[in-house]
């Protein structure tokens, strides 16, 4: 079974994001960037399936500017066999990403596509579902457990009410929850080896996909600030404040 894993380069999850003063976006200069956290879970799951001899090849793919390649290189260091970087500059919406990935799927013919359930930058939570629709494949979103069966996957999904289990035919798209597994760190020898693994570069414009944004970003601003609170000395004072000042209990 061949698995394509889509990864995205985002501002590291530990960075306190700051809004640009001119309202055009958030500050990205000199900010630490990393792989989108649930995309790490997607790679990890693919590598585990390969180690269990259920997968034969893992291809890591990313869509983005030149530096987005770093996320593919990291996936190669963790266990992906080859990489693909679709080069495109500027804002690219999930719909355009899913159209690009559709082209890559048609070319590489994977049996499964894994990716994180949501990117922590735009918080859209769309790409996996959109790619499933374009390919007319089943989707198993927010996956916290995957069992490989004969031409099928049994996937446990994290939903509002608790857990839901579904069975999807292969080929399928799986979007991964953080709870799916514990992503490993790449070892130094593997990081060195990954430098020799191939990354194919393709210009998005050569794929014949319209990547123009359909959504215009008018402004980005800081959310309203909370007024600063107080520290109370003890529990009795806390309860009195909640009762008589905030009037919430």
């Amino acid at each position: 079974m061949k698995i394509l894993v889509a990864v995205k380069r985002v501002i590291d999850y530990n960075v306190q994001v700051r809004v640009k003063e001119d309202g055009t976006g958030v500050v990205t200069d000199n900010v630490k960037m990393s792989t989108n956290p649930p995309d790490d879970n997607a790679i990890e799951e693919a590598v585990k399936l390969k180690e269990a001899s259920k997968a034969t090849e893992i291809i890591a793919v990313t869509v983005g500017e030149e530096k987005a390649q770093e996320t593919v290189r990291k996936a190669l260091a963790v266990g992906a066999d080859k990489g693909i970087h679709i080069k495109v500059d500027g804002i690219i919406e999930p719909l355009a990403v899913s159209k690009i990935l559709q082209k890559i799927v048609e070319k590489e013919k994977p049996d499964l596509v894994f990716m994180g359930k949501q990117a922590i930058d735009d918080d859209c939570n769309q790409t996996g579902q959109m790619l499933s629709a374009l390919l007319n494949w089943p989707q198993a979103t927010f996956a916290s457990k995957i069992i490989v069966k004969e031409n099928k996957l049994e996937v446990t999904r994290e939903v509002d009410e608790g857990l839901e289990t579904i069975e999807v035919n292969v080929p399928a798209i799986v979007t991964c929850d953080l709870r799916l597994n514990e992503p490993r760190y790449a070892s130094l020898p593997n990081i060195m080896k990954a430098k020799k693994k191939p990354i194919e570069q393709i210009n998005a414009s050569d794929l014949g996909v319209d990547t123009k944004p359909r959504i215009q970003q008018i402004k980005v601003e800081e959310p309203p600030k909370r007024k600063s609170g107080i520290k109370v000395a003890n529990v009795a004072e806390l309860v009195q404040k909640l009762k008589n000042e905030a009037k919430v209990i």
Binding site: I11, Y13, Q16, V17, V19, V26, P94, L95, A96, K117, Q118, I120, D121, D123, C124, N125, T127, G128, M130, S132, A133, L134, N136, P138, Q139, T141, E158, V159, D160, G162, L163, E164, T165, I166, E167, N169, D177, L178, R214, I215, Q216, Q217, I218, K219, V220, E221, E222, P223, R226, G229, K231, V232, V235, A236, L238, V239, L242, A246, V248, I249
Partner: protein, 317 residues
């Protein structure tokens, strides 16, 4: 043009967040039609028809709609969208799973998780875990939108008498199959809609220690939440998780106990009206959003908290 709103339900009852999405829809266009798809869900269609903001209910029945699989829902929705300018659902796991599949089939760039309607094509949505608010304008002819339910009041459930129009389903896709759903049953208020939420984090140290939180939740008629760290440590089940990738809650009172306040947790609770933080680390980031901070050992503070509550003559319910 009209708005098509996709109802979330369990074939017996309407899920409450659909009502919040209806309010958001009403700020876009007054002609709201609600699609109720399921198996033996007549009662849901009837309930929706009584919501005064709803002008029409489209009711679809079939065996294969019982478990709301998006592979079956999306083509059906696409088939009936022609006369609609907006397709809307709530941005919980139901809408998040379904709407992008619909949007892609219609070649529409979806606007996810809106918290404000500026005009029929312009919306505000949080990005970067709520650390920034983006105002965005959709230039697609039709719009596919998901609505953050806690940012809109629920629509009143009575006073309406919308027509219920039965329409035919389409055949099943048969590429996916529902196996089971493990719902956690509770007598407590639902986390997403509770007036008071009390949450525990890694500082609770064990699942057993959550009984300290349960006792206070009982007293306050509160829902119980948790940080991702507490869920990952196995102290409590995932349906309690509050945060960027869990539930977003906006109660009147949020009590964070033994929670340090990671960015991703703050994303799920910092719009709460009053926030209390109880943590023994006075430098914990949770104090930066707390209206009332108590620097204390939770294992001493929680029993005292219960004792003080017991002394009160009345407690709001």
């Amino acid at each position: 043009m009209s708005v098509l709103l996709i109802a979330e339900h369990n074939n017996k009852e309407l899920k409450p967040f659909t009502l919040n999405a209806i309010t958001a829809a009403s700020q876009i266009d007054a002609d709201i039609h609600v699609l109720v798809v399921g198996k033996n869900c007549e009662n849901v269609a009837k309930n929706v028809s009584e919501v005064s903001l709803v002008k029409k209910v489209l009711h679809v029945e079939a065996e294969h709609y019982e478990n709301f699989l998006p592979e079956n829902f999306a083509p059906l929705i696409v088939k009936i969208t022609e006369s609609y300018s907006h397709i809307i659902s709530s941005a919980n796991t139901f809408g998040k799973n379904l709407m992008p599949r619909v949007a892609a089939l219609l070649d529409i760039s979806q606007v996810s998780d809106i918290i404000k309607v500026v005009s029929s094509d312009t919306f505000i949505r949080p990005i970067y875990a709520g650390n920034a608010f983006a105002t965005v304008k959709s230039n697609d002819l039709k719009k596919c939108i998901t609505v953050r339910p806690t940012s809109f009041d629920p629509a009143p459930t009575s006073g309406g008498s919308a027509v219920i129009e039965k329409i035919d389903g389409i055949e099943a896709s048969n590429i996916s199959k529902f196996i089971k759903r493990e719902e956690v049953k509770s007598d407590r208020p639902e986390l997403g809609t509770a007036r008071i939420v009390i949450s525990g984090g890694r500082g609770m140290q064990s699942g057993d220690n959550f009984k300290l939180i349960t006792a206070i939740a009982d007293k306050l008629n509160a829902a119980i939440g948790a940080s991702r760290a507490a869920v990952d440590a196995g102290y409590i089940t995932n349906d309690h998780q509050v945060g960027q990738t869990g539930k977003v809650v906006v109660p009147d009172l949020y009590i964070a106990v033994g929670i340090s306040g990671a960015i991703q947790h703050l994303a799920g609770m910092k719009e709460s009206k009053v926030i209390v933080a109880i943590n023994k680390d006075g430098e914990a980031p949770i104090f930066s959003v707390a209206d009332y901070g108590l620097e204390a050992d939770l294992f001493e503070a929680l029993p005292q908290f219960l004792e003080e509550l017991n002394k009160l003559n009345t407690i709001q319910k």
